[in-house]
């Protein structure tokens, strides 16, 4: 990171700081100052750092993305917006990093369930500010890496979701992050809390108009005892956009966390998914990344088995074409105390062109002695036996390859239980790998 680029961002920050939410909260001011100090010292992450060795972010230094002001968050085309929204879901819309009351649709949320703008939640008089003091910055801290610090310093808004104990939400909540302006920077901080015995499904969609822009989002997740959260990330940013998004979860005892990560968009996209597992909790991390042209898509996962009897299942699949590059770095850490851990991590990559690249690095760090941990990684082409089988049934080779590639990706889409979301993701996959003359129900 050049010092010049860093100082440009820091100078911009100076002008912006007084407008950022949480001015009246000393703890947050402290957190932001600490973040700024870290960012000022080292700038954006460098490929010299082990966790960033495959992903060079220097492209975002060459241009200065500027935060969109709330009042400039203009109109969004109604039809386009509707096309991004899920039917039958509570919908939060963030435009250029600001919560939009106008476009959000939160009617008939059950009593006790909170879905509000982060800026509103961080007002001193609100009870939420007290709750956030012990949660914001507690699932991840500024030291994680400098894009987290960047987010902490700059975040302009976000969403605070709180599902109280025993509440089972009947509809999903969609957090729709939209960027409409060129060269804009959308920096949101989101906190999702699902308390004891509650159940919720949340979808984070990241999408934008056909511009170059920067998304730097951090979502902190707290799943209470025996609660279950299914969180789906649908990253379909513009193909000129830069996306940095981290999801950091803390799971209490017996908690379940299911995460689906669909990384389809962006010129350069980096996603971090971390979770800390308490006793007998379970996590399932699923991912699908599709890269074309010169896309660079990086997914980092970290599963911390901290206590005994927890279960983790992870399956990430990538399909890379043209000169696209996919990165998967998956770490599973089993603490000394985490006996009887049951963990399985898999990453499978399909390369469709000679110039496409997959860098995969699964890491197991095991400090307990009575555990069951496995991992598997493949980087390869389509199975020739399968191609021949389809050919022997009259299907030409090109169609056969297309069917098999689609099938490879569709296996991850099939894991989505919410019908409207499933169909939305399927639509995206079909746009990449069109399947002719087939009913959608047959896929």
């Amino acid at each position: 990171m050049s010092a010049v680029a860093t100082s440009r961002y820091v100078a911009e920050y100076g002008a912006l700081a007084p407008t950022l939410p949480g001015q009246s909260l000393p703890w947050l001011q402290q957190l932001r100052r600490d973040a700024l100090t870290k960012f000022s010292a080292n700038g954006f992450p460098s490929p010299r750092e082990e966790e960033w060795r495959y992903t060079n972010v220097s492209a975002i230094e060459k241009r200065l993305f500027t935060p969109a002001l709330k009042q400039s968050s203009g109109q969004v085309d109604a039809d386009w917006l509707k096309a991004q929204q899920l039917d039958d879901a509570w919908s939060v819309v963030l435009v250029n990093g600001h919560f939009s009351t106008e476009y959000s649709q939160l009617d008939s949320l059950p009593d006790g369930v909170t879905v509000i703008s982060m800026a509103d939640a961080l007002v001193e008089t609100q009870d939420f500010a007290t709750l956030l003091e012990t949660h914001l910055g507690h699932a991840v801290n500024n030291a994680e890496h400098n894009l987290v610090a960047f987010n902490t310093a700059w975040f302009s808004d976000g969403v605070f979701v709180h599902v109280p104990a025993k509440q089972v939400l009947t509809k999903p909540i969609q957090l729709l992050h939209i960027v409409t302006e060129a060269d804009a920077m959308a920096t949101t901080r989101n906190v999702i809390m699902v308390d004891e015995l509650a159940e919720a499904q949340v979808i984070e969609t990241f999408v934008g108009l056909d511009n170059a822009y920067l998304t730097a989002a951090v979502t902190e997740v707290f799943v209470g005892q025996n609660a279950h959260l299914t969180l789906t990330k649908m990253q379909i940013e513009s193909e000129k956009a830069y996306h940095f998004g981290g999801t950091y979860a803390k799971q209490s005892k017996d908690a379940r966390f299911t995460h689906h990560n669909f990384a389809f968009g962006g010129l350069l996209a980096r996603c971090d998914i971390h979770t800390d597992l308490d006793q007998a909790s379970e996590c399932e991390l699923n991912g699908l990344y599709l890269g074309v042209k010169r896309q660079h898509i990086d997914n980092h996962t970290r599963i911390n088995h901290l206590k005994p009897h927890a279960i983790s299942r992870e399956m990430y699949k990538g399909v890379l074409d043209d000169r696209a590059k996919g990165v998967f770095q998956g770490r599973v850490i089993v603490a000394e105390d985490a006996q009887k851990t049951d963990s399985q991590m898999n990453n499978r990559n399909l390369l469709l062109s000679d110039d496409a690249e997959a860098d995969t690095k699964p890491q197991l760090e095991i400090y307990a002695d009575d555990v069951k941990c496995g991992h598997g990684v493949t980087v390869g082409q389509l199975d020739e036996k399968s191609i021949f089988y389809l050919q022997s049934r009259s299907v030409d080779e090109e169609t056969a390859r297309n069917m098999l590639t689609f099938a490879f990706a569709n296996e991850m889409v099939d894991k989505i239980k919410i019908k409207s979301l499933h169909d939305k993701v399927l639509e995206q996959v079909l746009a990449r790998f069109p399947q002719e003359g087939v009913e959608k129900d047959w896929l």
Binding site: D383, E384, K385, S386, F388, Y389, L390, Q391, S392, R393, S394, V395, D396, E397, T399, M403, L404, F406, A407, F408, A409, N410, E411, D414, Q435, G437, V438, E439, W442, L443
Partner: protein
């Protein structure tokens, strides 16, 4: 329909088929029997166009055309169907999707319009019933998690729907219990017609109790060493393959 002359095939440096001659007419059922390693499966693979086999001599004419010049999918569209010894599992592709893609590829090749969705479902469901299969199979991924018997039944289902002219059954009976064998045999028998020929490749005589062949050929060491009628299979059953293998040496 099919005329194989002096066919020699290598896999790598090793000659597997050493001059096969075989004439098959429409309406006939031929059984090719032989011990393991005799070249039975190689023959079926070469006919269906699988890669990895080097045809070093001879010819294969199918309905007056050079079969060996055709891509595998063209052979299939021309009416050649191979029921695999080991059907491939294809996760993520449903049976019904494959069936429709296959049927439409064949229709298009012959200048016909795509099959109507309703007609297609009616046809498929009728055939599913015929093979005593559960309709749910249609919506499951091709062969994924199927038992051995289910896989073989699925091959015959595809055959019944695609209505090929030349059906090659590669060890369709292996791994089947007697009930599944009867169902598969009934499926095959229901497809018998004057314009369709069958080549059944099998190690065991048992299948021929249910599908009666017109001709039986014994393949050993890459050559057809003996040909005869259905009674030859019974003789083989009684005397074992060593009987014909010894004749070759002699």
């Amino acid at each position: 329909m099919l005329s194989i002359k002096d066919l020699t095939v290598n896999v790598g440096d090793k000659q597997i088929l050493k001059g096969i001659n075989l004439e098959i007419k429409a309406g006939e059922i031929h059984a090719i029997m032989g011990p393991n390693g005799s070249g039975k499966s190689t023959l079926s693979h070469v006919l269906s166009g699988k890669a990895g086999y080097d045809v070093t001599g001879g010819s294969v004419m199918y309905q007056g055309k050079n079969l060996l010049d055709m891509m595998p999918e063209i052979r299939a569209r021309e009416g050649v169907f191979l029921a695999f010894q080991y059907p491939v599992e294809i996760p993520g592709v449903s049976n019904i999707y494959l069936l429709k893609a296959a049927l439409n590829a064949i229709r298009k090749y012959h200048g016909l319009s795509e099959v109507d969705a309703m007609d297609f479902l009616t046809l498929v469901k009728h055939k599913v019933k015929l093979l005593e299969m559960d309709e749910k199979f249609l919506y499951r991924a091709v062969n994924e998690g199927f038992s051995g018997g289910e896989k073989k039944r699925n091959e015959i289902l595809q055959m019944a729907i695609l209505e090929p002219k030349l059906c090659i059954l590669d060890e369709t009976d292996s791994g089947l219990d007697i009930d599944a064998l009867k169902v598969v045999a009934e499926g095959v028998n229901s497809l018998r017609s004057n314009d369709r020929a069958f080549v059944m490749i099998t190690h065991y005589q048992r299948l021929l109790d249910y599908i009666k062949p017109d001709f039986v050929h014994v393949l050993a060491h890459g050559q057809i060493v003996k040909s005869g009628g259905a009674e030859l299979a019974l003789e083989l059953e009684e005397k074992g393959y060593s009987w014909v293998e010894n004749q070759v040496v002699a």
